[in-house]
């Protein structure tokens, strides 16, 4: 495997953000590359950046042969990108030569060749010791000169000559109707062909770059969106090459203690992606704000991308539930960026986010709501957008919390953009309409890599923020809100009455016992009396007997008869 890699063509890093990644190391070194595209697709800028990066970052001076614009025009055009061509020219890192061809001024009087171009190029290359050459746009020759066969022969010679000079060259060409370039330049440049295109879909314009051909090298063959922004071109590979982010076992609080408990007691994983879905008015933003607060409380930075509400409005609303986010803004821990998604295409937005992250270095990112993003692109584009964004965030170990509005009437547990599979933790906030009221419920649909609670919690927005309360589950029913409260009251009442009944019964029984005991006492007294009577009767009887016997004796004595 390694051997084949070594055998690959030597490459020349362009320094253009993302392009070297797609091409696996840049353009073919020492060979010409054709860049074709329609007018305004960024060909010239692309070439100029190639030269500027070469001169400033790779120590490779360059020559720019411009057929359309003068050196002054070119310099002016790229000043806004922070490139000072004049300085580069002064430092002998760049040579700009403007070849001006006006067909009205020129008379062709016989056979000729373009030897002077070669001489000029060679002279410029020698002057700065150039390793890079740009010819922009050589097709102008065809418009200025009528003898196409001479030009074709000379171009073939030119490209051969460029190769022999060992310079990495870019030749730009205007897009043709049925071919890559109007004049079929692709015939002459066989090593690498890059196509630039600008397309407008649903009123949003996106630039695309595609590597049509790269001889002797593997390359990404997709259309890659690219942007022209403040610092030049940036090409965004649709997905990062592999899923080999370093994962963190670090856990961070969601800002809602009870939710942390539900999430295995420790909250979210750092660097994970969290999705909060729910219908309108279910409190998604509040969950996000809690997370922002928790991030700032740890002393970490949080970037809040508000795509729907103005930051001031969010601040005010959060203050009403006791979340003072303003203090964190002052401490530069929290930053709001509010841009209507329709203001840019998805690509532009992605780069904006990249730039904000680069600049602000947040540890957490909140996008509220992500559903708004899908306005500026179709579902497939949106999914690709989020995939790339989340890939990027994961590689930077930034925790991202996205809220998503579930439109009414769609099946729950399905996101609009179909990004649920990208999410590590998915919280669903749902409203339940019963007995003339709506109650919020929160549950964890999934949370990768942790033993999360399967319980549904009732979600209350109080002056102190979010409170999660157990819902009533029992007797085969499931109640929330006032119904839950009513049920609770009912139960309390029932409990009380049961208690009262018990007390009553107890008292009844007690009094009955008392009565019985009294009866027992009475009977005992009676018994005792009877015993006493009996005793006295027995005694009396005995006495009587004694007396009788005594009397008998007396009688006997008195009678003395016998």
């Amino acid at each position: 495997m390694k051997k084949t890699q070594n055998k690959q063509l030597p490459k020349c890093l362009t320094g253009i953000q993302g392009l070297d990644e797609i091409t696996g190391g840049g353009l073919p070194k020492g060979r010409p590359t054709l860049i074709c595209g329609s007018a305004g697709s960024g060909k010239t800028l692309f070439s100029v950046e190639f030269l500027v990066r070469g001169a400033t970052e790779y120590g490779e001076p360059g020559v720019l042969m411009a057929f359309e614009e003068t050196a002054e025009e070119l310099t002016e055009n790229v000043t806004s990108l922070g490139w000072d061509l004049t300085q580069l020219v002064e430092e002998k890192k760049l040579s700009i030569d403007h070849v001006y061809i006006d067909p009205h001024e020129i008379q062709e009087t016989g056979e000729y060749d373009l030897e002077a171009l070669f001489i000029r190029l060679g002279f410029a290359i020698e002057e700065v010791g150039a390793k890079r050459v740009v010819l922009d746009t050589i097709e102008t020759l065809f418009m200025g000169l009528s003898n196409a066969s001479i030009i074709r022969a000379e171009l073939r010679r030119l490209f051969q000559w460029l190769k022999s000079q060992g310079v990495t060259a870019i030749i730009t060409g205007e897009r043709g109707e049925h071919s890559l370039t109007r004049q079929g330049l692709e015939e002459y440049v066989s090593d690498c062909v890059i196509r630039l295109e600008q397309r407008t879909t649903e009123e949003l314009t996106t630039r695309y770059l595609q590597i049509v051909k790269y001889r002797g090298s593997s390359h990404g063959s997709n259309e890659y969106p690219f942007l022209i922004e403040e610092e030049g071109i940036s090409v965004l590979p649709i997905t990062s090459v592999g899923l080999n982010h370093e994962v963190s076992n670090d856990r961070i609080s969601s800002g809602i203690p009870r939710l942390d408990t539900m999430l295995d007691g420790r909250g979210y994983y750092r660097g994970s992606s969290i999705l909060v879905t729910g219908m309108a008015g279910t409190g998604k933003s509040t969950i996000a704000a809690h997370f922002a607060q928790a991030t700032c409380q740890r002393g970490e930075r949080c970037l809040y991308l508000a795509t729907e509400e103005a930051p001031q409005q969010i601040l005010r609303n959060m203050l009403s539930i006791g979340l003072d986010l303003h203090q964190y803004i002052e401490k530069d821990l929290l930053r709001f960026e509010a841009v209507r998604p329709t203001a840019y295409g998805l690509e532009m937005r992605l780069v904006k986010i990249h730039n904000w992250i680069k600049e602000f270095q947040p540890r957490s990112l909140i996008i509220d709501p992500m559903s708004n993003m899908s306005l500026s692109g179709n579902t497939r584009q949106s999914k690709a957008f989020f995939m790339r964004l989340i890939d990027f965030l994961k590689s930077e170990k930034i925790t991202v919390l996205l809220t998503d509005l579930t439109p009414g009437g769609t099946p729950l547990e399905r996101t609009e953009i179909g990004v649920s599979s990208l999410m590590d933790t998915w919280l669903e906030v749902r409203t339940l309409e019963t007995n003339g009221e709506r109650n919020r419920l929160l549950y964890i649909l999934k949370s990768r890599g942790m033993e999360h609670s399967n319980q549904v919690r009732e979600f209350l927005l109080t002056k102190q923020g979010i409170e999660l309360i157990d819902v009533y589950v029992g007797q085969g029913t499931f109640l929330t809100g006032t119904a839950r409260a009513a049920q609770k009251a009912q139960e309390e009442f029932e409990q009380l009455s049961r208690l009262q009944k018990f007390e009553q019964k107890k008292r009844e029984l007690e009094s009955q016992t008392e009565i019985l005991e009294a009866q027992i006492t009475a009977l005992q007294v009676q018994l005792k009396t009877q015993h006493e009577v009996l005793d006295s009767m027995i005694k009396q009887a005995e006495n009587n007997q004694k007396n009788f016997l005594k009397n008998q004796e007396v009688m006997v004595k008195l009678r003395k008869g016998d």
Binding site: E105, I106, T109, E111, E115, A116, R120, F123, L145
Partner: protein, 118 residues
């Protein structure tokens, strides 16, 4: 029947006459060549011939070999070889090619306008 040769000779005569009578302008010409390539040599030969014929003693020709003076190609914005630049009289004219098409050269140098005479 008109004798063609005579006719042509007539034209040329009248042309020369016209030129000699009216055109007293001084020509400053500059020819860019690349060493001794066939085109360069041919151009030089063609130009010398035309000049001698039409601009005798009222022209100045500078021949620049860009092989020897590569830096000279840039200020003159030379891309094709050979290139002839008519610097004077105004307007500035640029002719490329080996100057084998005499008519075009004459028109280009504003020596005469063929159409007026044909």
């Amino acid at each position: 029947m008109v004798n063609e040769e005579e006719f042509e000779q007539d034209i040329i005569d009248s042309l020369e006459q016209a030129i000699n009578q009216q055109d007293r302008r001084y020509y400053v010409l500059r020819l860019y060549i690349a060493g001794t390539t066939p085109q360069s040599i041919q151009a030089l030969q063609n130009l010398t011939k035309i000049c001698e014929e039409y601009l005798k003693e009222r022209y100045e020709l500078e021949v620049i070999d860009i092989y020897q003076n590569p830096a000279m190609a840039v200020p003159g914005n030379i891309f094709a070889i050979p290139t002839l630049i008519k610097q004077l009289p105004p307007p500035l004219q640029i002719l490329i090619g080996n100057l084998s098409n005499t008519e075009k050269v004459l028109v280009g140098l504003d020596i005469c306008s063929i159409q007026n005479h044909v």
